[in-house]
């Protein structure tokens, strides 16, 4: 039996958990470090120390436009490494275009799994004094890109 969980429902359920967990992670992993002098230092901390504590590896590629947008690319995102997107499996009877519909659903489901890491990053950065929005791009799994937009 397949349960239908809407995206907004998932987001609101996770929001509180992300608040607490992101806060705790940022407190613990910034403990022995000197304070950050600017935004780039904080983002580098996320790329190196924070990522290696959470995902046992560092970010593979960091890009910035020097105007407050950073793209963090992880070539093998651990939490989604074993997730498969197989459009042919989930077709059901009466739908016009089964493969497209199923692909949409599984992409959507994978997207929901990214709320948690995006939320933790956002919360950790806001704890360090940087208000931002974090989104993720999973156009080619298992590589995953996180886009951080700092609110000026």
């Amino acid at each position: 039996m397949e349960g239908e969980v809407s995206e907004s429902c998932v987001e609101s359920l996770l929001a509180e958990i992300v608040l607490v967990v992101g806060h705790q992670f940022s407190e613990r992993y910034t403990m022995d470090r000197p304070r950050f002098t600017d935004n780039l230092e904080a983002i580098k901390f996320i790329c190196k120390d924070f990522w290696s504590e959470l995902f046992k590896k560092q970010i593979d590629n960091l890009k910035t436009n020097h105007r407050g947008t950073f793209v963090l690319q992880d070539n093998r995102f651990r939490w989604l490494a074993h997730m498969s997107i197989d459009p042919s499996v989930q077709a059901s009877g009466n739908i016009q275009d089964p493969s497209a519909m199923a692909e949409n659903k599984s992409t959507q489901a994978t997207g929901m799994h990214l709320y948690f890491p995006c939320g933790i990053i956002r919360r950790a950065l806001s704890n360090l004094g940087i208000a931002c929005a974090v989104s993720a791009d999973i156009s080619n799994l298992p590589a995953c890109s996180f886009v951080i937009r700092i609110k000026a």
């Binding site: 607490v20 705790q24 940022s26 407190e27 613990r28 910034t30 403990m31 000197p34 304070r35 002098t37």
Partner: protein, 143 residues
């Protein structure tokens, strides 16, 4: 002798205040802690004037008022620790060690799943740990 320790959050909201004197002057100590928050903000915003290394967590002696000495410490997450002591011969190194232990105890208290970020720390274990750290501070500086 340490008379008061305080943890103050990002928006200058008190997260934990504990005084260690038998006398009933906790209000005066709260007032001292409150005043020292201004000094912390000033130190952080004008590092060149105060001669502070910009990314140091330990802020040093904030302001010696009357017969108290006040030390400050600022974490990466903008949480401030304030230490008020009546000891006139406290060394910087002792205060640093104190804040290091205090930071560890604070992180452990915040990692409690029942703790709500931004609210006061109500953990009894944290209070006990803090009293232990305060007692050992007195011993190490006198030896």
């Amino acid at each position: 002798m340490i008379v008061c320790v305080a943890v103050v959050g990002h928006q200058n909201n008190p997260l934990y205040i504990q005084s260690f004197t038998k006398a009933d002057d906790s209000l005066k100590l709260h007032h001292i802690v409150h005043c020292s928050l201004d000094v912390v903000d000033e130190r952080v915003n004008n590092p060149k004037k105060s001669g502070l290394i910009i990314n140091e967590t330990f802020l040093g002696l904030l302001n010696p008022t009357e017969n108290y000495k006040v030390y400050g410490y600022l974490t990466n997450t903008k949480v401030k620790f304030i230490l008020v002591t009546t000891d006139l011969e406290v060394r910087d190194a002792d205060a640093r060690v104190f804040f290091g232990r205090f930071h560890t105890a604070y992180v452990n208290a915040v990692s409690n799943p029942f703790h709500i970020p931004g609210k006061k720390i109500t953990s009894r274990k944290f209070a006990e740990r803090v009293s232990t750290i305060v007692k050992s501070f007195g011993l190490s500086s006198s030896s």
